[in-house]
Symmetry: C3
Subunit: 354 residues, 3 copies
Amino acid sequence: MTGTDFFDTFRLLSVADIARRTAARLAGAEDVAGDTLIGGVASLADAGGGDLTFYDNRRYRDALPLCRAAACFLREEALPLLPRGVIGLVTEKPLHAMTLAMAELFPQATAPTSLFGAAGVSPNAIIHPDARLEPGVIVDPDATIGPRAEIGSKTIIGSHAVIGPHVKIGRGCRIGAHVSVSHAFIGDRVIVHPGARLGQDGFGFTPSRKGYLKIPQLGRVIVQDDVEIGANTTIDRGTLRDTVIGEGSKIDNLVQIAHNVIIGRGCVIAAQAGIAGSSEIGDFAQIGGQSAIAGHLTIGEGAAVAAKSGVMRDVPAFSRFGGAPARPLRGFLRGEALLARLSRRMSDKNSNKN
Amino acid sequence: MTGTDFFDTFRLLSVADIARRTAARLAGAEDVAGDTLIGGVASLADAGGGDLTFYDNRRYRDALPLCRAAACFLREEALPLLPRGVIGLVTEKPLHAMTLAMAELFPQATAPTSLFGAAGVSPNAIIHPDARLEPGVIVDPDATIGPRAEIGSKTIIGSHAVIGPHVKIGRGCRIGAHVSVSHAFIGDRVIVHPGARLGQDGFGFTPSRKGYLKIPQLGRVIVQDDVEIGANTTIDRGTLRDTVIGEGSKIDNLVQIAHNVIIGRGCVIAAQAGIAGSSEIGDFAQIGGQSAIAGHLTIGEGAAVAAKSGVMRDVPAFSRFGGAPARPLRGFLRGEALLARLSRRMSDKNSNKN
Amino acid sequence: MTGTDFFDTFRLLSVADIARRTAARLAGAEDVAGDTLIGGVASLADAGGGDLTFYDNRRYRDALPLCRAAACFLREEALPLLPRGVIGLVTEKPLHAMTLAMAELFPQATAPTSLFGAAGVSPNAIIHPDARLEPGVIVDPDATIGPRAEIGSKTIIGSHAVIGPHVKIGRGCRIGAHVSVSHAFIGDRVIVHPGARLGQDGFGFTPSRKGYLKIPQLGRVIVQDDVEIGANTTIDRGTLRDTVIGEGSKIDNLVQIAHNVIIGRGCVIAAQAGIAGSSEIGDFAQIGGQSAIAGHLTIGEGAAVAAKSGVMRDVPAFSRFGGAPARPLRGFLRGEALLARLSRRMSDKNSNKN
């Protein structure tokens, strides 16, 4: 891959230039040609001449000696495995350095762009006369913006997005295709991927003699700066307070955030996780894929919930939980190992009897 | 929160009036000022002067003595914790009473509304000449309604919704933004939240020498009256019979309902649950979040399946199941507790050896 | 059900004709009337006069003697249960034969069609002047096709679908309503159901002093021929290599496929499953509903992962895994049974003490 089909290389950079911009040390090849030009990027296995790559995961150790890239970010200790002819870019954080280099080579890929090559407001967008767009907003064809909505400068509203009445969206945001936003205030530099749903009614009912009575959902969704929200993720607005996604938190695809949930700053929530109503997730917590947090719980600051967990009680700060019902991760894994051992022994006994 | 940003208070009500409409008893403050006007609602922790709140969950007991609301629904036994100056509204069902009061104060929040402030049929909607809309239908901009579709009076079709050919939607429904409906008949007062998908092909294949052969899906989706369907939920149409969602059932976000599933009346299905093909869920059953029901099973009337369960056999009526594979809930939780205990003991032994 | 509401019977076929086209043997009724005309299809329980049905699952054995269909596909050994008056169509693969017959009777149901009864390109679609559509493409109202996109002949682009710049879609495809596709190449005869998201950024971040740094996602989504992708499913594009869905693989609703995942040929991935970044799924593997595959793993050819599994290590070819963390299925189920037994015994002991 050298940036052909969907991303053009913005500019060529020399290996020496890349080393300087990423604080990496040139090494490896016998006479390092720092002026070698990098024109593309690729994975360790696929990289060819002119490509930049990186090595940061021991799973791919076997691929390193076969690497044919022009240059490779890697840690000092991996250097002996690097083939002659590949320039080493030594750093303690290969993925981080690679990220910086990719952003230099492909700046247009650091945030989603218009899917119509649009600039300005498409004549095919439907914008309510009472909506207010700052200068520099891009609106793709077929987007719909409701009355009194406000959109900050340099924000892109994707094709077929629907922005409801009174919604405020900050500056430099990327609202993907088919996103719907209602009853929400969104900060700056927020990225919302296609099909995400923000601000619809939470799931609240109270039984009555005539069936379930719908509890009016009067709160909002508040999305702070630098948040990213994945495709087809759903975030319900609050009932009597707001649903809040804290600054810099990253949410993957198909995640469910129920009403009144408060997510702190810098959290990472992996795909298909679900957080039930009124739970609070502390700053920098990590929630694994397909895990579930029951309602009205507190997940402490910096806690980590393993993938597929089912959390039914509060999780202390900086602890690691796993399992369903979730308990401290180490204990959970020990229990699973024990069960595997016991059932193996049981089955051996049964075989011996036969 | 006092109903500012997205919902205006429809009217002010006195505390005495609210007590009367919810069958609550005024109590608490020394000389109860029944003519105190309520202008907003808020959670126990956030409520301030003029706000109505409620106390219904012991988790929030610490917040009750600090409450600064004008009035608070609560049970008799919680009354001693209510601060002087807050008017008590004593009732056996605080949440239910609060719901009734919220509906009086904010009637426009009892069902989703147009996201464009629209009345009537938007000139930007695309409606097939052979579609039939009863008087009083609201269609938001960019909705698309296909040939011979029929929409009942007072139904709102949201922006960018797609209603396929022959689809029938009853009266007083709310079809959210970006919803797609095909091969479906929908009753009255049904709410469908943004991005839900109703009526696409079920997932049916039969292996053949040329790969998987697609089984034609000839059934429909039948949604009975007063159903609510969450955002980005998917409901496939049936193969040879219909997929049916029974009267008054409530389905949360990101739920998967496969072809031929029959859901009874008054069921509650929480977020990210999945029900595989041809299973039947009895009336008033409750299916917890992220739980899975395998195909061709029967979940009995009034049964409760705990969150994150994996149900692989029939569940008897009025029973409670949990775990994966699911078994009676009490036994499942006992087993998990036993495993935790055994593995702790094992680990203690190992520590003693060291 | 006799094909009224949404699907008209394309033509009537005689039972003898159906037997011939499906290689079934006429049997059962005393004097088999091979010229009986079949006008519809229905499930075993619902079928009436003129209907064709099938019996392929012992769960429905009780319904067979009560069947009132005109004819029924079934295996030789089930023949004695068939009521007099119903014509037996004996075959080793009743579902397969039924599928062939349904495709003959309802050819228009073998792939999704326009939701607007459209032919050709709707004047209400927005097609960039630099997009290239082969002759015979159908574009429903409100679809949006970006610059330099290419669409092959006989492909249907559904209402409100968004096709991004440079995207290539092959021939005979069905792109459902509200689908978004960017950074993707799609083969021939691919079916994408409503609301699926293909090609958005993968979920890649690296921590930095200023919060999480977004890793540019430069790869593509490659969807090979004859793939089917379910409603609201999300497939992220790759980072440095492509995300690939192999030929003939079938993916259900609400599935998450992360960046760099490679899915082989003929795989079946059930609803709400999730495959984390950079994992590879071998040809003809089967991934059960709500199961999760962690990142950077290999699932071998022909392997089967049970529903609700959490796979944390490689799965060998042709093996069956289950549980979370997943282990060989037989061992997992034995462990669960053991745990149930132990906890029951424990509870009996406790009861005896009381």
